[in-house]
């Protein structure tokens, strides 16, 4: 549990670095950094409970999408500002590296295994964002209709 907390703190500082690199507006830096590291924390929490990496990544990217949307509505700004730094933690840089390492060592079967896992991780990030933004669209349109009907009554 202690390592999980440390992971959260470390990713929070790494996220601050991303915020500076991508020039997140200063007033949104706390929210953006928190969203990214909360996504990473969820990812590590899933791994802690022995959930598979792909599901963990999917859940984490869902949570990043959801939190970004909430933040964009609360702070009245574009959701991209929170999603771009938030998703960067989850992008499988280590998978890329390990694939390359296996390839260089001539270990083709391991390279294929790590490579396909890396691709699936990237796909699960994409799928998580897709699912959550589609869901948000549906919920918002239903809520709008409900408000309209209520206004007519």
């Amino acid at each position: 549990m202690m390592t999980l907390f440390l992971q959260f703190v470390f990713s929070l500082i790494a996220m601050l670095g991303f915020c500076v690199m991508f020039h997140v507006p200063v007033r949104h830096i706390p929210a953006a950094a928190f969203i990214g590291s909360a996504g990473w924390f969820l990812y590590q929490l899933c791994l802690y409970f022995h959930v598979s990496t792909i599901i963990a990544c999917f859940l984490a990217s869902c949570s990043v999408g959801l939190m970004s949307d909430i933040a964009s509505r609360l702070l009245k700004d574009a959701a991209t500002i929170f999603i771009i730094p938030g998703i960067l933690c989850l992008v499988p840089g280590s998978g890329m590296y390990n694939t390359m390492l296996a390839l260089v060592n001539g270990n083709l079967s391991q390279a294929a295994a790590t490579g396909s896992r890396t691709l699936m991780l990237a796909g699960s990030i994409a799928l998580g964002l897709l699912v959550i933004s589609a869901a948000i669209r549906i919920v918002v349109s239903i809520a709008r209709k409900a408000v309209n009907i209520a206004a007519k009554l």
Binding site: A14, M21, F22, H23, I81, L88, L101, L129, S133
Partner: protein, 261 residues
Amino acid sequence: MIEAKQKKILILAVRAGELMMKSGAEIYRVEDTVTRICKACGIHYVDVFAMQTGIFVSLDTGDENSDMYTYVKRIEGVSTDLTKISELNRFSREFTTTDLSVEEGMHRLKEISHIQLPPFPLRVLGAALVSSFFSLLFGGGVLDFLCAFIIGAASYSASRILGLYSINFFIRGFCCCALAAFLALSISSMVPGANYNAIIIGALMIFVPGVAITNSIRDFLSGNMLSGLARATEAGLVAISLAAGVGMVLRLWYSIGGASL
């Protein structure tokens, strides 16, 4: 006189769209902004088609004897600046809800386009923080933390220097990751106890194509298949260039006979 006004509106809208696209916004947001600005100025017929490389806008006031205006804007050099997106977003909302004149709008846009990125040393510090803390997250120790801090700063500065010579993103990613891998391997061969795996992963995280992935998904979702595909390809190419840079250095190191991998 009407025509001169239309031209001004067109230039304003396209300029706003161009700035947005250059700061790394999604297609949907750019098209929406251009349409809103034109509609707010009382032009009923607006059609926008935007891609990363250009914006096409057509305007028509709807009068029988008025001409249709079309403007094509080529966009070059895309970077990521989220503050500009935020400011432009606010500008478009302000422009549509209050009766800001076109000249004032143009003035605001000029101010927004002059927003600078954070000073270079600060960005290098950011990159160094990213690389060092990611090396910790991927199982590095205190020694790796320090190495990754320096290497992250060095490779980000290298990317900036290559950027000044407008070298394309593929070569840039390749060179920066090759440099990071080379530095990590040389340091770990000189300093006992340094774990070059964690250092290289930390440095890789600076260049990982997260923006392209995010934007490609959001473009696909809003139905802009063409740009979604283009951005997905960009993400794939960047990833390949990073992996190739690291892989080449590892391979060379191995064949020259440095530390065994």
